[in-house]
């Protein structure tokens, strides 16, 4: 075996071992690397009241109620839902049907008291006219459902 060949195998073996190690570490960290929990996650593993975490999902259609500085809405992943209360300013993209990530804690009544609301936007980019014609043609929900299911 020439020295070049030996170095080649050394690099290949080293990279494979590193890749494997990284994959194992990431797999064991999977649960703690979660940026937000969905309503379904909460239904499976409830988080005790008072502990701060992030809740993410879509703002349910027809659920937004503005009451002075307080805003109430429901976060859904199309399977489970969680009611949310928030005092403060929401981002421009916040609207019904939009993805949101909220930070806060559950109160005793199962209502999520948010201290911060962030809007998520999806991976689709298009001019407003195209969005309109997609809605008219009835293809609009295709993308939304795909997003909510993951």
């Amino acid at each position: 075996m020439t020295r070049k060949r030996r170095r080649l195998y050394f690099v290949l073996a080293g990279m494979s071992v590193l890749g494997l190690a990284a994959a194992l570490v990431l797999m064991s960290f999977e649960d703690s690397l979660v940026f937000f929990r969905s309503p379904s996650d909460l239904a499976e593993n409830p988080i005790p009241a008072g502990r701060t975490f992030r809740l993410g999902g879509l703002v349910a259609e027809g659920s937004v109620v503005k009451d002075g500085v307080e805003i109430r809405f429901v976060v859904t992943d199309l399977a489970e839902t969680v009611p949310v209360r928030f005092r403060g300013l929401v981002p421009d993209l916040f609207r019904e049907g939009q993805g949101v990530v909220t930070e806060g804690r559950m109160d005793e009544n199962g209502v999520f008291i948010a201290s911060n609301v962030l809007a998520k936007h999806d991976e689709n980019y298009m001019p407003p006219e195209v969005a309109e014609s997609l809605k008219e043609a009835g293809h609009w929900q295709d993308g939304k459902e795909a997003e909510a299911s993951d």
């Binding site: 990279m15 990431l26 979660v34 940026f35 981002p91 993209l93 991976e123 980019y125 001019p127």
Partner: protein, 243 residues
């Protein structure tokens, strides 16, 4: 193929090649960057959700592509430099690193400025943003390693180890938005189902992508020529001292 690449491991031949490419790369950069920015800022339509803010994408996304592309190129150079001991490969990585670091910084800053109006925050510690920040630190670490050795062949070896170990981060960045839930949206261009961007927005984005690539090539040629000449100068100095 391998034989051809070995030919260009000869620094003199490599210098001749990149010098011939240089005017074309520079000209292409000017034309594409001009066209791309004009298309991005004036021709391309508003987004249905984000309005005019979507125009930040034309600066942000190609910078993020380049930050990962340049790092991948450095990792390949490091492996080639290590295995076949080609000095041009080591110097290529050294020459590319600061350019890649600038692209990463640009992606982080424009992403942050985009996040504030759209998400409602400049920064969150989600998997995509965090792995991009780690990439930036990897670039800085790589550059620091090169500077911390007097012996250039030792520096090349240490830097190669760093860049190869850090290469694990590249697939993590790419798939972070699929593996974990993040505030950052999933991939829009390189997806299994094809691009999710309307052609009127995708075209300027791709033009900007090629423009960034030519910009990188142009600056890279200047830097790698300087590195090769610097290496020659060092050797001449050592020889002069020995006489």
């Amino acid at each position: 193929m391998a034989v051809d690449l070995h030919r260009f491991a000869n620094p003199t031949r490599f210098l001749r090649l990149v010098s011939a490419i240089f005017p074309w790369a520079a000209g292409l950069t000017v034309i594409l960057l001009g066209t791309g920015l004009y298309l991005a800022l004036f021709v391309s339509p508003e987004d249905y959700q984000q309005g005019d803010t979507v125009r930040i994408m034309f600066v942000h996304v190609p910078a993020a592509w380049m930050s990962m592309g340049v790092y991948t190129m450095m990792a390949v150079s490091a492996a080639v430099g290590w295995i076949w001991k080609h000095p041009v490969a080591d110097l290529s990585g050294k020459a590319a690193a600061p350019i890649g670091a600038c692209f990463t910084f640009l992606a982080l800053v424009t992403g942050s400025l985009w996040g504030q109006p759209m998400w409602g925050t400049y920064w969150v510690w989600d998997a995509r943003l965090t792995s991009m920040l780690i990439l930036f630190f990897l670039y800085l670490g790589y550059m620091a390693v090169w500077e911390s050795f007097d012996d250039q062949s030792k520096a090349a070896k240490a830097a190669a180890i760093l860049v190869l170990v850090g290469a694990i981060n590249i697939p993590i960045i790419k798939f972070s938005v699929d593996w974990w839930n993040t505030l950052h949206q999933p991939a829009s261009v390189a997806t299994m189902e094809g691009p999710k961007i309307h052609s009127s927005i995708l075209t300027p984005l791709l033009v900007m992508g090629v423009a960034y690539l030519s910009l990188f090539t142009t600056i890279f040629i200047v830097r790698v020529k300087a590195e090769i000449l610097d290496r020659r100068l060092r050797i001449m100095q050592v020889n002069a001292l020995q006489e």
